[in-house]
Structures are given as structure tokens and as C-alpha cells.
């Protein structure tokens, strides 16, 4: 059951990021707002929120952590209590400075390029395993048969969680991230179920430490003090939730683009050394993630009277397509050489898992292009995109040839 959301009639003053049209095709909506007299849209839904669309506004807000708090980064009808700061529900993404710095510093070594490099061979082997299971079929769902599974397996392996629990992770992700329009009680229930699951895993790791990320976090210290059970649990929640939905979306959106753009697909098959450059362009053009902030005190932001506790969405995908930021921003140019995109955010909250996500996306595309060099979209009308703050294909019928 979802709360009642009347369809949006005027995006400038009544936007809703869970509207079906926003999920299916947000680009014209952002273009319309961006080129209007006020490029920051407003809504009274969710208790009041703003939607900047220009790169300059999105980046200014991302950098201003004094006026725009990360206490909650998922916009819903529920604002977490002020006491949730400074840690927030999922540190460090939900934390403000100065707490944020230590909570982030402790996590980054596990996601450095060096650490991620060690996971590449097993990721490729897993992609090949998924591909082998698809061979012989004419049409597959690249979203659920392929893209979705990759980040689930990678993060579960890193955390040392039972691989057989993959289906449960997927449920948590969908309920928490895509369930923002559920009534508050239902949202609390789904968060509760997730924390209950994590508690059992952490207790098992406390009793039986091993060489994985969960044990690493349990032993980690900030200023000589261990993180504590609550901090570890919430950070793991972040890794599961933020690591799965997002990467799944990026892989799926990239396959969607290549399936519907034969010229780009053929070029990458012929020039596989171009894949890393193409990955950056696909991340720019189909950036999955929109973040949220809460205004800390009344502020006039470029003519918008923002009030304390208003939400502000940070649509990095809209910023990436701002023609003032980048020439031909609406076109996908897979060999684009100058591409300062912010698919992973800007400033102190740069996605901690960005190196991992890039590796997964590149390896997933390389394995797929090797196996199915002539794939095409099987049914353009059968593609379904998720709404809300993480956008990617949730159904993607592809003929693998």
C-alpha cells in the first residue's frame, strides 16, 4: 500500500520524484524546470521540498554542508529526529562534519582502488557464471537476470554474509530505498527487519571474527575508540543499501543504452579499450543517484526562501545534463574526452564506493559484450524504470542473439 500521490500537474510548484512520468523519463522535466524563470522547483509534498536542476546550484548545495545537512539523504514524509545527528541512520553518508570525517576515513581503505583491484577477478568470474546461465535463451531480463545480481554478490562477499541470503538483501533494498512513499509505520517496519538481520550477522562476527569487512569495521577505531555496535550496523546498512540499488541501476542503464544504440554497441565490441571512457559517459548521462539534504536554518538560496527542515533534492543526473555545464549535454558521446561528471556526487560525500562501482560496471559490460556482441532491446515498451532517488531499469528485456 502506498500513500496517495495525486499526479503532478505543474512540475515547477508541485514536483514529485515518485511520479511515474519522472521515473520513466525525467530528462524533459529537468530541462523544462532548468530553462524556466526559476530553475529550482518547489513542492509542498513531503512537508516541503526543493529541486535544483542547474549544475551550479546542485554543486553549491553539495558543498554547503553548514546550511544543507545530510541527517537524512532519502526524502520521504518522515524526517529523522534532530537527535539522529551527527551520526544519522547510515554513517558516513548521513553524517555532517565534524563527525563525518572520522566515520568516512575509517571506511575508505576498504574501497580504495587497490582494495577494489583485488575483487576484479572474482567479479568477472561471477559475471561469466550469470552469463553462462543465460546462454541458449532468446530473451533475458538484463535487470534481474544479470545487473541486479552483481553488486549483491560483491558486497555480500566483502561483508562475509551468507551468499544464500541474496534474495533477502534485494528485498531490503527495494523496501527501504524504493519504499519512500510508504506510510511511516510500514517504513519503520522495513528498517526494523533490516536492522534485525544485521544484528544477527554482526553478533556472529563478534563471536567468530574473520578476514572480511564486517570484522574489519568491528575492530576499527576512530580516535582510539571502537565504532560500537550501532555505528557498525548502520554503516553496513549503508553498504548494502547504497551499494546494491545504485550499481544495479548503472549496469542496467548502460546495457539499456547499448541495446538501443547499435552504433555505440558495435564500437565498444570493436574497440574494447574504449570501455573505461564509455563507462564515464554512461555514468554521466544515466547517473542513477539523486541525494537529499535537509535545510538547517532559513536561507535565501538564489531567490528561493528555503526554510529550516525543508528537503532539497540533489539530482546529480540533472546537473550532468545541464547545457551550461557541458556542451551537447543531452547526447551520449561514448568517447567523450572532457567529462567532469558528478555521478558520484561532489565534495565531502563523494560516493565512498565509487571505485568499486566503476569496477563492477566496467567488468559487467566487458563480460556482457564478450558474450553477447549483437544484443538488442527485445521490447522497448517492456522496459520499466525505478522511481524515486535511484533510477535504473527494473525490467529490461534484451534479445541476446
Amino acid at each position: 500500500m502506498t500513500t496517495d500521490h495525486p499526479p503532478v500537474e505543474d512540475w515547477a510548484v508541485d514536483f514529485d520524484h515518485t511520479d511515474e512520468r519522472y521515473a520513466a523519463n525525467p530528462f524533459p522535466i529537468w530541462d523544462e524546470i532548468r530553462s524556466s524563470a526559476c530553475p529550482i522547483a518547489r513542492t509542498e509534498r513531503y512537508g516541503g521540498a526543493w529541486l535544483p536542476t542547474r549544475h551550479a546550484d546542485v554543486s553549491a548545495i553539495a558543498y554547503d554542508t553548514d546550511h544543507f545537512s545530510s541527517r537524512s539523504i532519502l526524502m520521504s514524509a518522515v524526517r529523522p529526529p534532530l537527535e539522529a545527528a551527527p551520526m544519522g541512520i547510515a554513517p558516513p553518508i548521513s553524517s555532517d562534519p565534524p563527525f563525518h570525517g572520522g566515520a568516512r576515513r575509517v571506511l575508505l581503505p576498504a574501497f580504495s582502488p587497490q582494495a577494489v583491484g583485488k575483487l576484479e577477478a572474482s567479479t568477472r568470474a561471477y559475471c561469466d557464471e550469470l552469463i553462462d546461465a543465460m546462454r541458449g535463451r532468446e530473451v533475458v531480463d538484463a535487470a534481474t537476470d544479470y545487473a541486479q545480481n552483481i553488486p549483491v554478490r560483491v558486497i555480500a562477499t566483502m561483508l562475509g554474509f551468507p551468499l544464500g541470503d541474496d534474495d533477502r538483501f534485494r528485498e531490503f533494498v527495494v523496501e527501504v530505498i524504493e519504499g519512500v512513499d510508504l506510510p511511516p509505520e510500514a517504513r519503520m517496519d522495513s528498517m526494523g527487519a533490516l536492522y534485525e538481520y544485521l544484528r544477527a550477522q554482526i553478533e556472529d562476527h563478534t563471536a567468530h571474527p574473520r578476514d572480511d569487512l564486517t570484522s574489519f569495521l568491528l575492530n576499527a577505531e576512530i580516535d582510539g575508540e571502537q565504532l560500537g555496535f550501532e555505528h557498525v550496523g548502520r554503516t553496513i546498512a549503508l553498504l548494502l543499501l547504497a551499494g546494491i540499488d545504485t550499481t544495479w541501476s548503472a549496469i542496467g542503464a548502460s546495457l539499456f543504452h547499448l541495446a538501443s544504440t547499435p552504433g555505440d554497441r558495435e564500437r565498444l565490441v570493436a574497440e574494447p579499450e574504449l570501455v573505461p571512457t564509455a563507462v564515464e559517459e554512461l555514468l554521466r548521462a544515466y547517473a542513477p543517484v539523486t541525494m537529499a539534504r535537509l535545510v538547517t536554518e532559513d536561507i535565501d538560496f538564489n531567490g528561493c526562501p528555503m526554510k529550516a527542515e525543508d528537503w532539497v533534492l540533489l539530482p546529480f543526473p540533472a546537473a550532468n545534463r545541464d547545457p551550461e555545464f557541458l556542451a551537447d549535454a543531452d547526447e551520449v558521446v561514448i568517447d567523450r574526452e572532457v567529462n567532469r561528471h558528478s555521478a558520484f556526487g561532489l565534495g565531502i560525500h563523494r560516493c565512498a564506493g565509487s571505485h568499486l562501482a566503476r569496477m563492477e560496471l566496467r567488468v559487467a559490460l566487458e563480460a556482457w559484450l564478450d558474450a553477447f556482441p549483437t544484443f538488442t532491446l527485445a521490447d522497448a515498451h517492456g522496459v520499466r524504470w525505478s522511481g524515486g532517488q535511484v533510477r535504473g531499469p527494473r525490467r529490461l528485456p534484451i534479445a541476446i542473439g
Binding site: R105, L108, P109, F111, S112, P113, Q114, P276, E280, E337, V338, N339, R340, H341, S342, F344, L346, G347, I348, R350, S354, H355, R358
Partner: protein, 69 residues
């Protein structure tokens, strides 16, 4: 002789890693993924294009390139 030198503003670098991916002979990641300049930052002959691409792709505008004598 004039050559190019790259420099990173450590306060602006957030570890996106575009520079060390595009120009691994000039930049390297530290243990948290932030970038540092290899050696004295002087751009060897043949690396000029890669240096310019690293500068032009940094989302935080954290890299500068200067002529150095």
C-alpha cells in the same frame, strides 16, 4: 627549457580518481583513494595530453597545470 608541472590541491581532492585512471604515470592513489602527484609533478615528454585530460576531468577542479622553468 619550459616544461609542464601538475599540482593537486589536497583540500579540494575528494578521491574521485579520474586523474590516476587517465594519467597513471603522473598521479597515484593513496590508501584512501585520494590522489597524489608522482615525483615532482614535472610532466615527461609524451604525457602532456594525458596531463591535460586529468585536469579537465577532475569533478572538483582540484588539479592545476602550470608551465615550469
Amino acid at each position: 627549457m619550459i616544461s609542464l608541472r601538475v599540482k593537486i590541491d589536497e583540500a579540494s581532492c575528494e578521491g574521485h580518481g579520474r586523474c590516476y585512471a587517465l594519467a597513471p604515470a603522473l598521479f597515484e592513489p593513496d590508501e584512501i583513494g585520494n590522489a597524489s602527484v608522482l615525483g615532482d609533478g614535472i610532466v615527461p615528454a609524451g604525457e602532456e595530453d594525458r596531463a591535460r585530460r586529468a585536469v579537465a576531468n577532475c569533478p572538483e577542479h582540484a588539479i592545476a597545470i602550470d608551465a615550469s622553468t
